[in-house]
Each structure stands twice: as C-alpha cells, then as structure tokens.
C-alpha cells in the first residue's frame, strides 16, 4: 500500500551565501495510512520547516515528496491549493479560525473552496461539529468560544473534507491541561477511526499519545521509535 507521506532526502536551505541556513539536511520519512506520528524536536530543529513542506505550504530545496501517491515537487501554486484542500487537514497552534465568522461557516469553508453544494456542505459541517462535541455551539463566533472549543472547531474544519492526512502543528500549545486532554482524546479517537495523523509537538506527554515518535535534531532525524500501546 502506498504510504500517505513519502519523503526522500528532503533538504531545505534558507537564504544564500553568508546568511545561508540549512533547516533540513536530508530527511527520509515514510508514514503509512492510519499511523499516528508525533514529530518532536527542540526549537530550531527544523520541525516547523518539515511541517510546512509536508503541508504543501512550502517547497523543499531538494529531494522528493509524494503525498498519497501524488508527486508534490513539480506542482504549481494552483494545483498545490487543490492538494491542500483535498488531502490535508490543518490544525494550528493558534487555532486560526476566521474571525467574525461562525463556527459552522468556518467548518464549511474547505467545502466551499471545493465547490460542494450549500445543503450538502452544511450537513457535513454539522456532522463534523457534532463529532467534536460542539453541536450546540455551531452559531457561535470564534471569540465566543474557549480555546479548547476553538481548537475543536479547527479539528472539525480539518476533518470535514475527509483528507488523507491530519496535520497538527503544536495543537495543544495554547491550551490549558483540561483542554489539552480533550483535544488529545479527540485525536486518539480519530486515530482509532483509522485517520492518519501527523502532530508536531515539543511536549513528551503529548508525544506519548502517538503511536510513533520521530525526533529531529539539527534538521536530521535522530530517533524514530514506536510507543508501546
């Protein structure tokens, strides 16, 4: 079976000449369907750069990247936006909901950009919000929701388009311990439903939830281990 993520000798260089910074120095990583992977590393280790490349937000300097069997390397911006829309669900540290837009509209947005009809997308958005336990908060604006609730709306938005990959960038970084537990619990359930999740974090106890932990040091993979269930 094709892996969801297939990275081969990915490098990323920022700047040029004296200011040249090597953020990634040859990453080889394959993530299978249904896996739950935590990517760890200190700040500056290159994990955010890796996340941007995996999320098709940024292009690698060299190497090959295939997402769900699609070669990402030579896609233009327009094709990349389709890939982001259909294959990837983003969950950000700072939630990144669209302000002054209801939870329901936020969740609908990926389907809007995909061109799904209003009635269908509303139904799917409601289902997604109910699955994260926010069926009663659909018409609230982001600023009327707690951090934990906002992050759950973001998870619903990431889920609604049925992507191949859920990509979470420090999803619990801005949350208190109770909301963290809620969100991690939610991620665990999604994993149990067979979703592929890649989560970037620097907290050990968060990484402990994942089935596999990849640790980055100075732009290279220093450790790749499986947690015991």
């Amino acid at each position: 079976m094709t892996p969801v993520i297939d990275l081969q000798s990915i490098t990323k260089v920022y700047g040029a000449g004296d200011t040249e910074v090597q953020a990634l120095r040859g990453i080889d990583l394959s993530i299978a369907r249904g896996d739950y992977v935590a990517i760890m590393g200190a700040s500056g280790s290159g994990k955010s750069t890796l996340m941007n490349i995996v999320g098709a937000l940024d292009a690698a300097t060299s190497g090959h990247y295939a997402l769900d069997g699609i070669d990402i390397d030579d896609l233009d911006e327009s094709a990349l936006s389709i890939v982001r829309n259909r294959k990837i669900g983003f969950i950000f540290q700072s939630f990144n909901l669209i302000p002054r837009t209801s939870a329901l509209s936020n969740v609908e947005l990926p389907l809007v950009y995909r061109g799904v009809r209003r009635r269908e997308r509303r139904a799917r958005a409601i289902t997604a919000l109910e699955s994260v336990g926010l069926g009663d908060r659909m018409h609230h604006m982001p600023n009327e929701l707690s951090g934990g609730q906002q992050q759950r709306v973001a998870v619903a938005r990431a889920l609604v388009a049925e992507p191949s990959l859920l990509l979470a960038d420090e999803p619990t970084g801005n949350l208190d311990s109770r909301s963290t537990a809620d969100v991690l619990d939610l991620m665990g359930r999604l994993h149990d439903q067979g979703r592929t999740i890649v989560m970037i974090t620097h907290e050990d106890d968060v990484a402990a939830q994942a089935g596999r932990v990849v640790t980055l040091v100075d732009g290279q993979i220093s450790e790749d281990r499986r947690n015991r269930p």
């Binding site: 937000l57 983003f90 669209i98």
Partner: protein, 403 residues
C-alpha cells in the same frame, strides 16, 4: 466556489468594519452624486435659457437698423433707413420662399399712466402679424387689426407686467391709458410669458405702427423688422434670403458697409447652448475628479484591509483557497463598496436635483446617471484590483506567520 458565495463572503468583510466601509462608500457617493447634480444643473440652465429664448419665437429673425461698426465707418457710402417698403419687399415667394411674414417695428420709450399710476416702458408700433411672429398669444380682448393700422387708431395691447404696474387688479380692457401724452384704448392683453431673469417678456405695450409713428416717434427709420421664417430649421435659409434682398435694396457692396444686422433666434439658441455645454462639461470634469478621489479611497482602504487580514488570507490558502478565489473575494469587496456607494450617490442626486438651485431647476441628464454609476463600478474594479492581486499573491506560509 460560486459567485454568490464569494459575494456573501465579501459582504461579510464589509459588514465587519461598518464605519470604515461607510466612509469609503461616502467618497464614491459624493463623487457620483456631484457628477449627476452638476451635470443636471448645467443642463437645467441650458433648458431654462433655451426656453426663454424660445418664448420669443425660434423661427424669427430680427433685422435691426445700424451696424456693429458704428457711425464712424468711413467705407460706407450710403446710410439708408429701414423702411416699411423694405418689410413689404421681404415677403416675396420667389426671392424669399422661406419668409412667411415681415413686420415693421418701431419703439418709443415712454411713460404710461393710468389714474395716477405711472410706469416707464417702451411702446412698440407694429402690424397685426407681430403677435404671431413674436409668439405673443392674446389672453383677453382682441389683437390689433389691419383696420387699426390703416386708420391709425389709438388702440393698444398690453403685456402682463405693464398691466399689473398700471392697473393692479382692475380689468384693463376698454380703459384709456396715456402713453407719452397720447391716450390709447386697451383692446387686448397678452398671455403671461414669464420673465427669464435678464429680460421681461411681459413688459410690452403694442400699438398700431401708424399711430406710434405719427404721435410718438415720427417717420424716421424703423427700429427693426421682425421676419418670421416658415420653421426654425428654415431660419438660416431665410436669413440669407433677407440679407440678399436688403443688400440689393440698400446698395450694400461689401459686408463692411452693410447698414443692417440680422439676429437669428435659432442661431442664438445654439450659441447659448454651446456655451452652457462647455460649462456643463467643466462642472462634470470637476465632479469626475472627486469621483477619482473616491476611487483612490477604495484602493487605500482595501490595502489596509488586505494587510489587516493577511493572516486570514493565509488560513484560507492553507484550507485550499485558490488564488482566483482570494482575488475574487477582495475584488468583490471593492466592487460592493463602489456599487453601494454609487447607488446611494444616484439616489442622493435624484433627491438633490428636485431642489431648485440659484433659480435653475436641475434637469437630470440620463446618460450622466448611467455614466457615473458605470464609472463608479469600474472604479471599484480598477482600484480594487491592485490590493486584491496583492492579497491573492501572498504566499500562504508567510501570510500564516503574519501577526
């Protein structure tokens, strides 16, 4: 993603910042409204002046005695009077097919009195055809008749201004009014024509030519001959016919020694309309500049909006919004601003032009309404495209990092 959806998102963006959107719209609103109103005022002035000239008859030519060159013109060999015979000669179906009638006119500046009331006016001595040629319909009583002229009767027909000055509310018919010491019997009145600011078409007193010449002016040259052309289109042809007949009779050898001049009402109207047209275009141009300033306001506010919402753009792109979707969203926001601003501007202009400004009743030029609205919409497109393009070209990763 369909257009309706994009418009909805655009409207949300506008509603999110009502004061700012309102002020931006105000810029367009003022621009559109001022274009329409100023054009309407110019047009209204043109209509008013044209109407006041038309009230004197558009198909008439006035042949005046004398020249612009003045009495010192040394090239003139003869200086002939304008005579009743000249007037008679102008009605000639062969030489002047476009002339319907020619009416001799003399005027005498006099003071008319009635039972203690007195009023300075000029008495016009003329023939009965004057009433039709000068577009002066009779209100009450009768016009002058050929009989009045033949018998030098002391009959007079008065305009409404003279009547109100001398008679007040009294019925003037059959009363005796004294003008320049000569008693006249009022046989008729002329319908009110209305004044047009610079000349009062109702300030007239009309008596038989023969009477005025014998009692008031003497038998010198006529002041003018009122020529009626068959239509206002024929007035130019009539003008040249009249010129050639009179040139022959007066022995004119060149334009320099011509001893009469012709005032063509139709030509006057077109001159006046041209002049006012230039001012209208000037007014419109000034207003168009304010519309342009309004458009720059849209660019400015959209640039601020794009900067403010960089992060939102990043989120949308991460979720899968294509460049075209972002472009359309911001373009539509700019368009909605300009369309609503332009629409309200048209409404305001329609209201404002109901008010009479400086004696001019504005008359809306339909093309200016359509033009101003279309321009305001294109301004939205044009001035919104730069900020929208900037938003759409943002790289998602940088937009997401933006705080």
């Amino acid at each position: 993603m369909n257009v309706l959806e994009t418009i909805r998102i655009g409207l949300q963006g506008i509603a999110a910042n009502k004061l700012r959107s309102g002020l931006t719209m105000l810029g367009i609103l003022i621009g559109v409204a001022s274009v329409i109103v100023l054009m309407a005022i110019g047009n209204g002035a043109s209509v008013a002046v044209t109407a006041s000239i038309e009230s004197l008859g558009t198909n008439t030519l006035t042949v005046r005695h004398g020249t612009f060159g003045g009495e010192n013109d040394t090239t003139r060999t003869q200086f002939k009077d304008l005579t009743v015979d000249d007037a008679v000669a102008l009605v000639d179906p062969v030489l002047a097919p476009d002339v319907v009638s020619a009416t001799p006119v003399v005027t005498a500046a006099t003071t008319c009195t009635f039972e203690g009331a007195s009023y300075s006016t000029s008495v016009t001595g003329t023939w009965p055809s004057y009433f039709e040629a000068s577009n002066s319909p009779i209100g009450t009583g009768t016009p002058l008749t050929a009989d009045d002229v033949l018998n030098s009767r002391r009959s007079i027909v008065l305009g409404q201004t003279v009547i109100s000055e001398l008679f007040g509310d009294t019925d003037p018919l059959d009363r005796t009014v004294t003008c320049g010491g000569v008693p006249f019997i009022v046989v008729g009145t002329i319908e009110e024509k209305g004044s047009s600011g610079f000349l009062d078409a109702d300030d007239v007193a009309i008596a038989p030519l023969s009477t005025v010449q014998s009692k008031l002016t003497g038998y010198g040259s006529l002041d003018s001959i009122l020529v009626q052309a068959s239509s206002s289109e024929a007035s130019t042809a009539a003008e040249s016919e009249v010129t050639s007949i009179l040139d022959q009779r007066h022995g004119t050898t060149s334009e320099d020694n011509r001893d009469f001049q012709i005032l063509n009402q139709a030509a006057l109207i077109s001159t006046v309309q041209d002049t006012i047209g230039i001012f209208t275009v000037l007014l419109g141009a000034v207003a168009a500049i304010s519309l342009l300033v309004g458009g720059i306001g849209i660019t400015n506010i959209m640039l601020v909006t794009v900067t403010e919402r960089t992060r939102e753009i990043g989120i949308r792109k991460a979720i899968g919004a294509r460049k075209s979707a972002i472009l359309t969203q911001f373009l539509i926001e700019a368009m909605v601003l300009s369309v609503i601003g332009g629409g309200l501007g048209v409404l305001l202009a329609l209201l404002a032009t109901r008010i009479t400004i400086a004696d001019v009743t504005p008359v809306i030029v339909p093309s200016s309404v359509i033009g101003a609205f279309v321009v305001s919409v294109s301004i939205g497109l044009f001035f919104g495209s730069y900020p929208a393009n900037r938003a759409a070209s943002l790289r998602p990763i940088e937009a997401l990092r933006h705080e």
